[in-house]
């Protein structure tokens, strides 16, 4: 019947979590940036000096500014600039949470193929987020 189209349970669950996660993430990056810009917390790189680094390749930047690799930023999260990474990381992690939420629903519905695809996707995203994969510098 026209107008009665209903998205599946897993799709609605995914949408609900994505909606909440996205809003928390965006709010977090705005608040943490405001804290950074207002100078509430001392930054690792002074705001006046950021422009010295952003023209460098990432390889040079990491060395010149003594930036930790991977999740190393957690060790300096109290610094104003690295506090921003909490919001950024949360925003980049929302999708993993969404996938984890739909896996039980898919298996409960005996949708094994999609359930396995969802698990594989979680593994791919966790691998990307883990920091294990290091790109060679240039």
């Amino acid at each position: 019947m026209a107008g009665k189209v209903q998205a599946t349970e897993e799709q609605l669950t995914y949408a609900k979590i994505l909606d909440i996660g996205m809003k928390i993430g965006l709010l977090a990056i705005i608040i943490t940036f405001a804290i950074y810009a207002a100078g509430v917390l001392t930054p690792h790189i002074d705001v006046e000096h950021v422009s010295k680094y952003w023209g460098m390749s990432v390889h040079d930047y990491l060395q010149a500014a003594n930036i930790p690799h991977g999740w190393g930023w957690l060790s300096i999260v109290e610094k104003g600039d690295f506090l921003n990474f909490t919001g950024i990381a949360f925003l980049a992690g929302v999708t993993i949470i969404c996938y984890l939420a739909i896996v039980p629903i898919l298996f409960k519905k005996k949708d094994f193929i999609c359930g396995i695809i969802a698990i594989l996707e979680v593994l791919v995203l966790v691998l990307a987020a883990s920091g294990i994969l290091k790109a060679g510098g240039h």
Binding site: G3, A7, D19, T32, F85, D111, V124, A128
Partner: protein
Amino acid sequence: MSREKKIVLFAVIGMVIATATGVAFGEELATPPVEAAASTTPWWVWPLVLFVVTFLLGIVAVLGGVGGGVLFVPIIGGFFPFHLDFVRGAGLLVALAGALAAGPGLLKKGLADLRLALPVALIASSCAIVGAMIGLALPTNIVQTALGATILGIVLIMWKAKKSEFPEVPKADALSTALRINGVYHEASTGQDVDWKIHRTPMGLATFIIIGVMAGMFGLGAGWANVPVLNLMMGAPLKVSVATSKFLLSITDTSAAWIYINNGAVIPMIVVPSVVGIMLGSIVGVRILAKTKPAAVRYIVIVMLLFAGSRALLKGLGIWN
């Protein structure tokens, strides 16, 4: 001239002026990177200019029917003093934030289809990781040159590619049948529920290997490629293709974004004003779009991409630095 058209004109002119301002300030910083002196420009000017440019980009992107990332990377990369590594990292987060914001609504309305997205996302996100690692490992001039060539290719796709509201799919292929990729969506313009299914699934999935690599390598988002493949190759209705493509970006760009984050290619001073600017611009763009859709905007976007793509290509080749 209507109010909406004046806003669009203002957005385009404003973007050109703001970008030119960026170039002017950028030249001040055109010193060797490691020995670069601190800029005499107050620090807050940069995020402000970036915010203004990305806000205007957000408006133009919505009206031109493209994602923010595809405009962001070549324009900010070509005309601001930021290294391409950081621009690509920011571009991915810009595209990701836009996709995350649009995703819930598209899924709830049944326009984006999770079953269609699941296998496609797995391939594209895996390959986006590879693309991101290649992009961060290759010399900048090679990435810059390839980016320019890709942008010019996108211009060609935007100029030539056809769209099909309801592609004819005589028979669903075996793979899409096994994965039960089909659905029904409500077409508001006609009040009808539209049944759809897809074909050529293996070929479509194989194409997403290339799309994923390019998305990760250039930080562009990949709506420009997702939509033609889902719509013209695999036969999904146009609205389902556009919505699923937007949702897909939230997964593809997540995997690539993590590689950039973990490898240090994210500077909050570049990322946050860009994400906020383009999202606010998109909200304004959607409001303008609801009232009018100036056809000329699409051509303006094509010209902008042509210019930015040529700039990237020539910069990569060392002809226009």
